[in-house]
Symmetry: C2
Subunit: 420 residues, 2 copies
Amino acid sequence: MEKNNLDMLEVLGKKAVTAKFKLQVLTEEEKNKALLCAAQGLLDDREEILEANARDMRAGRENGMQEGLLDRLKLDADRIGAMAEGLRQVADLPDPVGKELEAWERPNGLHLKKISVPLGVIGIIYESRPNVTADAFALCFKAGNAVILKGGSDAIHSNGAITASLRKSLKKTGVIEDAVQLIGATDREITTAFMKCKNYIDVLIPRGSAGLIRAAVENSTIPIIETGTGNCHIYIDESASVTDSVNIVINAKTQRIGVCNACESLVIHEKIAGVFLSTLAQKIKQVHEVEIRGDEKVCEMLSDAVPATEEDYGREYLDYILSAVTVKNIDEAIAHINRYSTHHSDAIITENRENARKFSKEIDSACVYVNASTRFTDGFEFGFGAEIGISTQKLHARGPMGLPELTTYKYVIEGDGQIR
Amino acid sequence: MEKNNLDMLEVLGKKAVTAKFKLQVLTEEEKNKALLCAAQGLLDDREEILEANARDMRAGRENGMQEGLLDRLKLDADRIGAMAEGLRQVADLPDPVGKELEAWERPNGLHLKKISVPLGVIGIIYESRPNVTADAFALCFKAGNAVILKGGSDAIHSNGAITASLRKSLKKTGVIEDAVQLIGATDREITTAFMKCKNYIDVLIPRGSAGLIRAAVENSTIPIIETGTGNCHIYIDESASVTDSVNIVINAKTQRIGVCNACESLVIHEKIAGVFLSTLAQKIKQVHEVEIRGDEKVCEMLSDAVPATEEDYGREYLDYILSAVTVKNIDEAIAHINRYSTHHSDAIITENRENARKFSKEIDSACVYVNASTRFTDGFEFGFGAEIGISTQKLHARGPMGLPELTTYKYVIEGDGQIR
């Protein structure tokens, strides 16, 4: 990689560290004022942002970008308005910093307090959608963190214009501009180098494709929070309500196919499989054609089903496809799910309390549902008011991450001369 | 590396995963029964353990191992008794698993519960001390986790005998033996391969030298918790009590020099430097000779002091050496500490409340002390009743880690057919 780029990362890193020490002492009022100013700023800078976005769109079309991706990339007055509204909503959320989480006294008279504090500098690597630039800044900033963003090369001009607008507003309200910085380079090597800036960055959050997450797992020396991959299961228990099961599966599969909390795989008790599958097959096609890849029994019961391979059970299709397997009992269901799940969200549909309890306890996933759609795994649906991503790892945060998950804690210990 | 070793890790990994699903459903009673049985087992197997330890000691002497390290390696009846007592103490601690951390209801009728659950499979890499084998097992087990241990090659026979004893006791109480497994190979390559067993291990905790931690940061694909390195500072504020300052510094520097919470660096307000340094110099030598490496002013005031280099300020000496720097005000002190600290434990000695508050807020370390020794950063001193290590990173856990830090959480969401 060019030495210039390495130097650039070094400079961004140092500026972010300077910024983090200033941000950690801001009051809630100061942060909210800056967020509201930034919201207005995005509206005021609409022309510049749309112009930059038009450049990205032109380049995208020239490079033969797919329609779906072009739509994700596109900004218009409404979408800029939504970004600004997002900043205002974050201003409305309670400040997660400076909370006394615990406090106690030791027999030797030491007073201990556990207090929530910002993580420090957060690195975020994300793909095309330019609105993430404003969202990620707002959440990191409200939690008192400096953020360094590395967006997709397709959106480089849009992200640049949004970041410039945010920085202008920060300056206007007397907040250090380097609270948000964007990596301007677009080559792939810089992403790998960014993942190794451990001296400056406290936490790295990769948001995007499975390939990006894997690259971060393999290359990052910074602690990361893995997000997103969801091979979500729904288990239809022997005692399930067929109506509920069918409704929930249709919702979880078809309401939005490209999201991580969509259902990808069915696990069906063999005693209910016949009636459930025939009802599902009939109803789901009224919404959308869905291919079912099943085991032998599923294929026997459903003439349209395609035989599943072993590989199917582990896949996140993000498409109108469902894998389906039958089981003899709940233990088999739990074993199958624990084996193939990405530990994001899995559901049981059952009228049997004991089975609901067992499933909730034994499924090793961030979110375990009883009689509800996996689509609810979402910061807003959980009532967090915001979401920076959905963690599929076990350290630090699991499931939807809101503002408190962008903080850590410190212990403050007060004494009057105690020694050991 | 030999294919045999890779296969072996694969086998251990799979067994641990099988074990974790069995351990997560154990009751507190079952776990405590197994821990008490394991404590008695260690006493019953004393002969075998001492014999194995004698082999390690012989090999150590033949390889010219230092006296200090030989002492760390050595087991005797008392030390085995202490290990057994350690297991009993963990049995006495409250079960951290299955706690309802939060619960709420959404307007759509979904009930959400956030519940503490085991991490799953924990990998621990540690160096010579064989008692860690029993301690680490006990803590991981009580928190419902399976553990795979990789001890130092110097202690391989001792660790093997202790693990065999623990597994025998588990079997006796009907608990899956693979709750604890020890990697038998001793080559270095296996440690690196172990750090990449992401398919089986949820969290890796390296405990030991700075070199080991660095290797884990660079090579591990498993999320790690960094532990241990402590370049701890004490800042002597203008208003500090000289008596308290001197007592605390002497305690923090000399009570035990080889530990991560020992003081390594002094930051001294220039107005108090003269009287503080002369008192310290006079008193500390009554305990032990300590070399002071200071800036220009310190060297002027203290004829014995040696000029410090830039590198000195970043060092964890683990020896009778202190670096010392003078500052004009508390802002300079905070900036110096935030720059050179390993973010473990840093202290201010002051009679000024405002400065105490400012220091507590602005120092970016896991533990920030006001008028007390940094030596209190310890799970037992904090009242946790146990400690698996001291985290110096910001994700998941910071500072001393007890049983709750060996758990994560899951969300259990109960509905009655809700869809989005």
